[in-house]
């Protein structure tokens, strides 16, 4: 029988296009905003114009009387019907984020925090009425800069907390100070990683509907995790969980932005309950920039010690992480800092390692989990320092990595921070990259062009990514986020297959991948499988989409469930054919004898007998033609993947503009389920990583006013500036008993920033200049060149 990737049955490994793509391109997608319910109202929020201000009084009378307005709510009104929440995590017991409410009650703590809600017949009417709400504001000093936030005597964002320090933790292994004392060279750099955000094409959207006769809340929402939301609405609004249903229809991009519990969305659910009418909220682009979660915002000082041959002796990382005024809920904002502590330098042998993270409150939007959470920064920091060490010793960047990588004989390996890596294929990825890109030739071209005054840079960056987490992190953290997924696979009487799964899709093609593994596991064609996702009432309980778990967990369980169904089908077939089930197989929807492949029955025969003609079966054989299975990875805390990226850029030293010439990725994702989806996931991730490296920045003024609240000011990468992105794979096997896919959704993002940062710095080398701030805007690059000139460090070239 023909076989897919890593000896798995077809159609595993086949380039199937995304099932939803055709429908979406034809304009037949159904996003939350496409849904209109009878008697539906629309809500618009009044948002704080200040980063930090007290609400002395609030007068909604004029707004309430405006045309079309049904009701106006303030923070107190909503809080009366909703418990507050705290973004804490029991693995970090010192984190005690203050209670957060749907609407600000007394003090608004970031510009854009919702403080009042107008509910009207149309959104336009609701917006008209917003202008009639009168608030007497008392502006408070805005705490924006994280270093200033920690200065003793700084204004406190939460007066009842000891300071603006939300959490500090350190993790260490080995005698770091002693190792540095012995190091032949120490490379130190202070990095500033700017804030950016996810910019989903479809903004956050929610419709909540409460039926008081049934006391039932139904929420349609553009979200990644319907069961998480079901749990939260039930607990925070005090509705029994079986009476809460969350449906996530087509979702137009999410990237972690749609993974959080948002205060304004909580308010919508409360309002629907208070009014007994469906209520819709669609975040507009201003609101998206002001109130969607942001990511990054780290200042990191890091030191790398190496011996005379360039072998790492110690790495020390100190992260100042500004998270906005609250730790986000329910996951807590700590993960991004945690991943930086966990993963900086992860590809390398690290005899001594220390990481300190300080999480700081400030008057900016909340920091949440955006694609690759912390990993791009962990990668960029280590890879910059490694290149710095290589330059200092005069080693090639490739060679210094080879000297320091974890090697095959090191696995299974436990990192200095206690993360288990079953296997990493670092050297294989590097070798493939060098070969495919012909790096020596590229270097030669770069050198030749330099002589002509053309400044190009090559950057490479290795990364380790933690995908598909098991229950250790959130479970032990007492955070009600499921790391399990479930899947129902059901044979219809006609022999076609339905799948209902807890994994979710926001454009990745998760449903297509699930259809493929079910087709492979059962022995049918992908087209004969229909997959339903995103309904908390119908789907088995599970975590939805986060941490690159769709393939590693969602597909794993779909494959297992399909195989179990296959067993059940063959039992029925065996009884009908009076043959032992293991002498039979299912291929292309037909029951065949396993040895010769001769067709004996069809799946439609099994369906007919199994549902209508059970009299043909022995009396003790109850056909089970639908199975449900669940899976949570227990063997490791995370499924670790790895890869390497390369960026080739050209710098215009006169303007500081960087042109991306080429980008390449070599990635090890274990089993490849669908090369088409896989490559596009990686390319999309790379583009977002490039965005963070060169373009995207949420800019706030020193008063906490957002200066980048439109798509004209917040620059997302666009296709004309993007280079061709080559993607190559290393399929390193993991456990044969498993499907064996590792996560891939974040790989592109995890490594791109480091690769681009290294490439830009490589191009800057002849000028004696360095840049360690993202995004590397032309102005910052020019400044770096200017400062190097002033220092007189320009190399002759």
């Amino acid at each position: 029988m023909p076989e897919g990737g890593m000896d798995r049955p077809l159609p595993i490994g086949v380039r199937e296009p995304r099932a939803r793509a055709r429908r979406l391109v034809a304009g037949r997608g159904r996003y939350t905003d496409d849904i209109s319910l009878p008697r539906m109202l629309h809500v618009a929020f009044l948002r704080s114009p200040y980063a930090h201000a007290r609400i002395r009084s609030i007068d909604v009378a004029a707004a309430a009387a405006a045309p079309g307005v049904e009701a106006v709510f303030t923070g107190r009104d909503i809080a009366a019907a909703c418990n507050p929440w705290q973004g804490n995590h029991a693995l970090f017991p010192d984190l005690d984020s203050p209670p957060q409410y749907p609407l600000a009650i007394e003090i608004a703590r970031w510009q854009g925090e919702a403080v009042a809600a107008v509910v009207a017949e149309t959104r336009a009417q609701a917006e008209d009425a917003l202008a009639l709400i009168e608030i007497d504001w008392e502006e408070l000093p805005a705490v924006v800069d994280p270093e200033a936030a920690l200065v003793p005597g700084a204004p406190k964002i939460h007066p009842d907390r000891p300071s603006n320090l939300a959490l500090e933790f350190t993790t260490a292994k080995g005698d770091v100070d002693d190792a540095f004392a012995r190091a032949a060279h120490v490379i130190e750099e202070t990095f500033v990683f700017g804030r950016h955000t996810g910019v989903t094409l479809e903004p956050r959207t929610i419709i909540a509907e409460f039926d008081p006769t049934e006391e039932r809340l139904v929420v349609h929402q553009s979200h990644q995790a319907p069961h998480q939301q079901q749990d939260l609405y039930a607990r925070l609004l005090g509705i029994p969980e079986h009476k809460v249903r969350v449906i996530c229809p087509d979702v137009g991009g999410a990237f972690g932005v749609k993974l959080q519990f948002y205060a304004d969305e909580a308010a919508v659910a409360v309002i629907a309950r208070l009014l007994g009418r469906p209520v819709k909220f669609v975040a507009d682009r201003f609101e998206a920039f002001a109130a969607d979660i942001h990511a990054r915002d780290h200042r990191i000082t890091a030191r790398l010690g190496v011996d005379a041959e360039g072998r790492i002796v110690a790495l020390d990382v100190d992260d100042l992480f500004a998270i906005g005024p609250y730790s986000q809920y329910p996951r807590a904002s700590v993960t991004e800092g945690g991943h930086i502590a966990r993963l900086t330098g992860a590809p390398y042998r690290l005899p001594a390692y220390r990481a300190r993270v300080r999480m700081v409150y400030q008057n900016k939007g909340l920091i949440g989990h955006y694609r690759a959470v912390g990993q791009p920064i962990a990668c960029a920091v280590a890879e910059r320092l490694i290149d710095g060490a290589a330059a200092k010793i005069g080693l090639d960047p490739v060679e210094i990595r080879r000297r320091n990588y974890l090697r095959d004989e090191d696995f299974p390996y436990t990192s200095p921070t206690g993360v288990a890596f079953e296997h990493l294929s670092l050297n294989r990825c590097l070798d493939l990259l060098v070969e495919k890109l012909d790096l020596p030739a590229l270097r030669a071209e770069q050198q030749a062009l330099r002589a002509k005054g053309i400044y190009r840079g090559i950057g490479i960056a290795s990364f380790v990514e933690l995908t598909g987490p098991g229950p250790d992190y959130y479970g032990q953290g007492q955070v009600r986020v499921s790391s399990q997924d479930g899947c129902i696979v059901k044979l219809e009487p006609s022999g076609k297959v339905r799948v209902v799964a807890s994994a979710t899709d926001q454009g990745q093609g998760t449903d297509t991948a699930i259809a493929q593994v079910v087709a492979a596991g059962l022995g049918v064609r992908t087209a004969d499988v229909h997959v339903l996702l995103g309904d908390s009432e119908v789907c088995p309980y599970g975590g939805g989409a986060y941490a690159s778990r769709g393939a590693s967990i969602g597909c794993e369980i779909a494959f297992r469930a399909a195989r179990q169904l296959k067993g059940n089908v063959l039992k029925v077939a065996g009884a009908l054919l009076q043959m032992p089930p293991d002498a039979l197989d299912i291929r292309d929807g037909a029951i065949v004898d396993a040895e010769k492949g001769v067709e004996r029955l069809t799946l439609a025969d099994i369906g007919r007998v199994g549902y209508f003609q059970q009299y043909l079966l022995p009396p003790d054989l109850q056909p089970e033609l639908a199975v449900v299975q669940h899976y949570v990875p227990r063997d490791q805390a995370y499924i670790a993947g790895n890869g390497i990226q390369a960026s080739y850029v050209e710098l215009d030293p006169e303007t500081g503009f960087v042109k991306l010439l080429r980008h390449a990725v070599v990635h090890d994702c274990g089993l490849i389920i669908n090369p088409l989806l896989l490559d596009e996931q990686i390319r999309g991730g790379v583009v977002q990583g490039i965005g963070g490296a060169l373009f995207e920045e949420v800019v706030y003024g020193s008063d906490g006013q957002m200066l980048s609240a439109t798509m004209a000011d917040y620059i997302v990468p666009m296709s004309s500036e993007m280079p061709d992105i080559d993607v190559w794979h290393v399929e390193a096997g993991i456990g044969r008993e498993k499907l064996g896919a590792k996560g891939v959704g974040e790989a592109g993002t995890a490594g791109a920033m480091g690769a681009v940062l290294n490439a830009v710095n490589d191009a800057l080398l002849p000028f004696g200049a360095r840049i360690a701030q993202t995004p590397c805007t032309p102005q910052r690059i020019l400044r770096a060149i200017r400062e190097a000139r002033a220092r007189g460090t320009t190399q002759s070239h």
């Binding site: 336009a124 303007t655 004209a712 000011d713 004309s720 032309p778 102005q779």
Partner: protein
């Protein structure tokens, strides 16, 4: 992001439109391609009482060549300019600038009159109008008047147009033989408004540049003719060193301030870069 409510009228003749404007007491706003106005309405930056949609007024569109003048109706869309052989032949500067104006979808709707009326300081068409010495035709109930580009752009989004006037057309002198042009802009992404740009024209006489006009955009609160720097080029010649020296006097022509795109120093630096590069491209074009 929903527009505030307004009255919408869609006149089918210029006459009718001018009547509405005359009676509106400054509370009307004209809708052309809508590529700037619609977002401004949605963001509630613009809140007119009456929206006067001029898209059904045929006499406002079209490109004609009369004597040595190219007259372009205000409602002519960028895409029509891109396709026009008259523009390609007689307004090579505009032809060069067009691909830098926004993106295809926006060029399908956006109009030259809209751009000249909006007067974004970083927009391409106003700068071209200035470099080419265009005449802008403004019509009202009291008749037609022509304003030279140098007197038309008054400040940030501010022009000589009165609220009861419609920009009906713009007249460009057609390129003469022996003339050349150059265009260069810096933008973070293709199609973005420029961080800085320069559009220039000159006559080439025996290897020297005469009547060099360099319109700088994205460098000040309006498009600005770099008269001092251009005079330096005519004086010093066109070697790279001479161009660099000429660019150094740009601070006397333009006065960039700090903005989200960069601080004043960087923006002035960019002005110098685009000045040199645009003039260099002009020179390059004369070498065939």
């Amino acid at each position: 992001m929903k527009a505030p409510s307004f009255r919408y009228v869609r006149p089918t003749s210029l006459e009718e439109a001018l009547d509405v404007l005359a009676q509106a007491d400054g509370q009307a706003q004209i809708l052309a391609g809508g590529q700037s106005l619609m977002p401004m309405l949605a963001m509630r930056i613009a809140a007119p009482e009456i929206l006067v949609d001029i898209n059904r007024i045929p006499e406002l569109a079209g490109i004609t060549l009369e004597n040595d003048l190219v007259r372009i109706g205000a409602l002519t869309r960028y895409v029509e300019l891109e396709k026009s052989s008259v523009v390609a032949e007689h307004l090579p500067l505009i032809a060069r600038a067009l691909p830098h104006v926004a993106h295809v979808a926006i060029r399908n709707r956006g109009t030259i009159g809209g751009s000249l009326s909006l007067a974004d300081p970083a927009a391409e068409m106003p700068a071209c109008a200035l470099a080419l010495g265009a005449e802008i035709e403004l019509v009202s109930k009291s008749g037609v008047r022509s304003v030279g580009a140098e007197d038309y752009f008054l400040g940030l989004y501010e022009t000589a147009r009165q609220p009861d006037e419609i920009l009906a057309a713009v007249r460009f002198p057609a390129a003469r033989s022996g003339s050349a042009c150059g265009f260069y802009e810096l933008s973070r992404r293709h199609g973005d408004f420029a961080l800085a740009g320069a559009a220039c024209t000159a006559r080439v006489e025996g290897g020297a540049l005469k009547d060099l006009r360099v319109a700088m955009f994205g460098c000040d609160d309006r498009p600005v003719l770099a008269k001092k720097a251009a005079a330096e080029v005519e004086r010093r010649g066109t070697s790279p060193e001479a161009l660099a020296a000429a660019a150094e006097v740009l601070a006397e022509d333009v006065a960039p301030t700090d903005n989200v795109n960069g601080d004043a120093e960087t923006r002035l630096h960019y002005a110098k870069v685009v000045f040199r590069r645009a003039v260099a491209m002009l020179l390059e074009s004369t070498r065939g």
